[in-house]
Amino acid sequence: MQRLEFLLRRLGTSLFVLIGVSVITFFLARVVPSNAAALYIGPKARAEDIERVTKQLGLDKPLPVQYAIYMQELLRGDLGTSISTKRPITEELAGRIPATLELLFSGMFIAILIGVPLGVLSARWQGKPVDVAVRVLSIVGVSMPAFFLGLIFQIVFFRNLDILPLAGRVDGDLRFSNPLTEITNFILLDSFLTGNWVTLKDAFLHLILPSLTLAAYPIGLIARMTRAAMLEVFEQDYIRTARAYGIRQYVVTYLYALKNAISPTLTVIGLTFAFALTGTFFVEILFNWPGLGLFTVRSLLNLDYPAIMGMTLFGATGYVLMNLIVDLLQAWIDPRVILD
């Protein structure tokens, strides 16, 4: 019963926040610009176009009416039409989601895989050289601009060592020698499902540098938070008891302590998704990765206003849902959360 109540309350908050997000985006899209209609047509707006779009967007109507129209379109899944490509923004975004998710997931996967153990090691050997090394590494990780780290990787691994590709999702020539059957648009998955091993290997190599660039910041954050959470758990009486019983240190660390440090770490992982999401913008430009970020940045350059606003709403929605998932996961791992 308490669980159901928690779930409903949490869903209610998310719904409220989503509505608020739509209001803020509405203000940014329609109210803040001095001439929203001109922005919606782009740099070459003519007077009659402006008049037409003003009517079409309902910019001459009172604000609440405008918002109602805006919401109606949103609920129909209509985010407007891109100025530069003339295609519906929903379509533009949908086609690019797999590329970005592939990057985002592999980046976060690396970040968790490296960050959590580093944090645990650091806490386990607090004050020792390992701890110092991890703390330096995590501070460097959160201090390095992604748009600069990616460039360094390209210089080192492409120009100097020549062992990894410079940019893109897959080598262009492979499209002719080993054409890929598109099923999900996740290249790794598609090439695996169709047994296209040449493409699989190539796509994997292309993914390494962008994922590492994206992972640097989250690694730093996750390692730091895991360390803090572990140190806090080490203070608890039950850990002291376990040690007093003579239970071996690695069992205490990995079985008893880590289990209770996971919950705060999970919060941070949820938070880092936000950083990673905006991080993909920089990574995608640097590595010419055909995802949402590259589309957004091109829209920024082309003053493609509807596309920018569509992406803002989409990104915030994704972030709200991500936070919801993290909270529910946390309640599932640690039922005490429900009581708060």
Binding site: G20, S143, P145, F147, L277, I308
Partner: protein
């Protein structure tokens, strides 16, 4: 911080003591001390950029057609860019948008956020509810994404990027100020002020806000690194400083095309961002270990 504060102290002495404590901790920790010196040097450089830069006109954007894409040398320590401008000069002059503006951004975010948080925490009830739900909405956006959207709604430019960052950052300080205020509200000095009929406004501004300064200052220092990165990111995307003005993020973006042959164009401004952010994060880390402002959230 609250644990060490005796209940009957006046607001002023509490605050002066915490600030002094923070300063002494920073000065004793070698890494934090080095970071403070580095930041002081960069701020000095930003303030006197025109006097320090070897080629101040080029730093501001004057092109020099016969000197394009020169590698680092005695004349041009950091080399020159595609328009023949001295990169060292541009890195020095770029410190202003990249470092001074973010400091201003955090300052304004605190000035907006802290009083709202103190008001929400002190008054409670529906006012608290309204203010906090509004902060929730702003925090529902990944901050850089919101800043990008606002910056593009306002049009391009350094001032607009700064405004966009202020709008996306103030809610953090509202949260902290509210948390501190709630814990202060029960203290004797607040109750005493209420008892002798001091008005709410005076209590909030004279007695509560000064006490929220320390944890907020700590959080602001911790945040500065992130704000500098965000500012650099906006400039990199073309939403901040506009060419030909110098800016580190913009210079990295310009140098990207030449990265395989003329590595120096993007590398030096990139290193500048890294060093400044690293310095702020090192100080922030030391401060956070002692004060942990997040405990008030």
């Amino acid at each position: 911080m609250t644990a060490t504060t005796p209940t009957l102290q006046t607001s002023e002495t509490v605050n002066a003591r915490t600030t002094r404590h923070a300063l002494s901790v920073i000065l004793r920790d070698p890494l934090s001390f080095a970071s403070t010196v580095i930041i002081a040097l960069f701020i000095f450089m930003a303030l006197f950029a025109y006097q320090i830069a070897p080629y101040p006109e080029e730093g501001e954007g004057k092109t020099h057609a016969s000197n394009t894409l020169l590698p680092p040398s005695a004349d041009h320590w950091f080399g020159t860019d595609k328009l023949g401008r001295d990169i060292l000069s541009r890195v020095i002059m770029g410190a202003r948008p990249a470092l001074i503006i973010p400091i201003g951004v955090v300052l304004f975010a605190v000035l907006i956020g802290a009083p709202l948080g103190a008001l929400a925490g002190y008054k409670g009830g529906w006012l608290d509810e309204v203010i906090m739900r509004i902060t929730d909405l702003f925090l529902a956006f990944p901050s850089l994404l919101l800043a990008m959207a606002i910056a593009s709604a306002l049009g391009r430019g350094l001032d607009k990027a700064a405004l966009a960052l202020i709008v996306s950052w103030w809610p953090w300080y509202t949260r902290i100020a509210r948390g501190v205020t709630i814990s202060l509200k029960e203290r004797y000095f607040v109750e005493a002020a209420q008892a002798i009929g001091v008005s709410d406004a005076v209590i909030i501004f004279r007695h509560i806000l000064p006490n929220t300064i320390s944890p907020i200052l700590v959080q602001a220092t911790v945040d500065l690194g992130t704000v500098i990165l965000a500012m650099g990111g906006l400039a990199f995307l073309g939403l901040g400083t506009q060419p030909p003005s110098p800016d580190w993020g913009l210079m990295v973006s310009d140098g990207r095309t030449y990265i395989l042959d003329q590595w120096w164009i993007a590398t030096f401004p990139g290193i500048a961002i890294f060093i400044v952010v690293l310095a702020f994060n090192l100080i922030g880390d030391t401060l956070r270990d002692i004060f942990d402002p997040r405990q008030y959230k």
